[in-house]
Symmetry: C2
Subunit: 339 residues, 2 copies
């Protein structure tokens, strides 16, 4: 691994935090921490000071001990790990204040041997990537931008299914926050017809096998729509505005990764059929009149279904059925017929 | 580009070589070279000395000039460029005495921005890659191992077609040497039922587009079969043994790249149909009883065709038709029925 600062699995700071967190509003004595973790009282004090410098508010009262008062809104393993309930995803977190794009860094780490489940998380992306070479606006500190290294046992031609698995997990996690999200084919997460999240799956493969896939997601959690540029604001959504409250990012990330791992397990064990069923239930595109822009042509018709490969099936006005593997979908209204 | 030593397009050494080469068995005067290239006589002498150190035998006779007597069997731009008749492929050559694998280096260079047509050539691969994570035996100095960076305007699901384009080009180039090669699906080049070459296409993509493809080929040109390890020798072929003569590697490489570029143009302009027709004519697999090992199962039956996606179509004994996208094919003989 060429990465200079991979987060270790469980540091003493994390263990102390978890212990204080378990204590809730009660004080935890230095002696108890010392007994539990085998650290000297001086070492504990040093770790508490270090945590305070990272934004943790920890009260220290002589003869009573320590109490965790406030957790900073950051996305390192320190904040995420206590909420994490996964086998692989997020067990190694590569945290960065700023990256060009989390997908780009994750692709490089995977090329150098990063394992299934390793995650790159960044506070900010300076060149966040969307589909078709577009950019994904990624201001610092408000939202969630991450990329997971996946090493699935899957034929390369089935790789597009991974995007749909991620969309299903994203819908699940957003729903748990109390919003009613939907999916716009193939991979936009929507709230009230406005985009709140996107997914970009990148692949390294040969015809026989996937070497690795990078599953990147960007979700607008706490950004205010008024802060979006004018050309994006009308079509963008923010979870915080939808739920009228701030999203705790670390908890949301841990929850989303847990759901992602579960749905990836379902996909691996039961195949695409089950994913497709669930995806269909959240899809906003099916049943609509749409215009799909593929690389070379525009196909207009009714979005009937997704098939067993994840392709969108359109029935055109000419009565033909078209399978579309990649493209941009716009919903259109048929003009009312003249009397 | 992070590559430390990309070969420039046309060096003075290359220009001098080309000029001497044009002269054939005649001497070319230092004056003529000086006039043509605008170099001093001392500079020409320095370049001639440098070429000699690289294995070029150049005769120098006072008052007559220089004469090229022998070209070393190397694969740098110096040897290849004079034979090269391409627009893009091989116009930039990254030559290495030894690499882990040409595909690996080409993949890295492409990630860092290498252009369509840039080629990695190596005298030796220490970890040459075959299909399905297998190794490709790559002893030094005898054969041809290269990888081309391709940036085709092609949907990712059509990437497997590139392997078939390369197979067609490989057959063409081998045929021009006077052998009768065939293709074993999907990508083995065969002489007399023994493997003489292999192709490994690796891909970086997202569902919407191919970022780049790395097309790697290894061809046993001058290696003697007796030098192969015992487990490979019975199924391996060497061009030199088939034509009973040594192959000039640089000329062969230039010729193959020219044919590859032509077939890629045909593919881009006319689509896969034309490639498929030509591929079929050289395919040894079609019409045979075969056992195909895919990741999970073995499928036995008659290889009927390749379909419009490059998949092998097998009709099984049970009367079903199966499409196979990736797998290992073994030819089998049906046991004669008992009387």
């Amino acid at each position: 691994m060429a990465d200079p600062t991979p987060e270790p699995l469980q540091t003493n700071e994390e263990l102390i935090l978890a212990f204080l967190s378990d204590g809730g509003d009660d004080f935890t004595s230095g002696e108890a921490i010392s007994d539990k973790l085998g650290l000297s009282r001086a070492a504990i004090w040093k770790h508490v000071e270090s945590l305070r410098q990272k934004g943790y508010r920890i009260e220290a009262v002589p003869a009573r001990g320590y109490r965790l008062v406030e957790i900073p809104d950051r996305l390192t393993a320190l904040e995420i790990a206590p909420h994490l309930n996964t086998r692989d995803i997020g067990r190694v977190i590569h945290y960065r204040e700023s990256v060009t794009s989390t997908n780009e860094l994750a692709f490089r780490l995977a090329s150098e041997g990063a394992s299934h489940g390793e995650v790159v998380v960044a506070e900010e992306q300076t060149h966040g990537k969307g589909r078709r070479g577009r950019s994904w606006l990624s201001p610092a500190g408000l939202n969630l931008y991450f990329s997971v290294v996946l090493r699935p046992d899957l034929s390369p031609h089935r790789a597009p299914e991974l995007t749909l698995v991620a969309a299903v997990a994203g819908v699940d996690a957003l729903r748990a926050l109390g919003v009613s999200p939907g999916i716009k084919w193939p991979n936009d997460l929507m709230i009230d017809s406005r985009k709140v999240g996107g997914i970009l799956t990148e692949l390294s493969s040969d015809p026989d096998r996937i070497h690795f896939a990078i599953l990147g997601m960007g979700i607008n959690l706490n950004g205010a729509r008024s802060e979006f540029p004018a050309e994006i604001a009308p079509t963008a959504a923010s979870v915080a505005e939808a739920i009228k409250g701030k999203v705790r990012r670390a908890r949301f990330a841990a929850d989303l990764w847990g759901r992602l791992e579960n749905w990836l397990d379902v996909h691996a064990e039961e195949g695409f059929g089950k994913i497709r069923d669930v995806w269909r239930q959240s899809c906003l595109t099916l049943g609509q009149e749409v215009a799909v822009q593929t690389g070379k042509e525009q196909i207009v018709g009714r979005a009937e279904d997704i098939d067993e490969t994840g392709a969108l099936v359109i029935s055109t006005a000419e009565g033909t059925r078209r399978r579309i593997l990649a493209g941009d979908v716009e919903q259109v209204r048929r003009r009312p017929l003249p009397d």
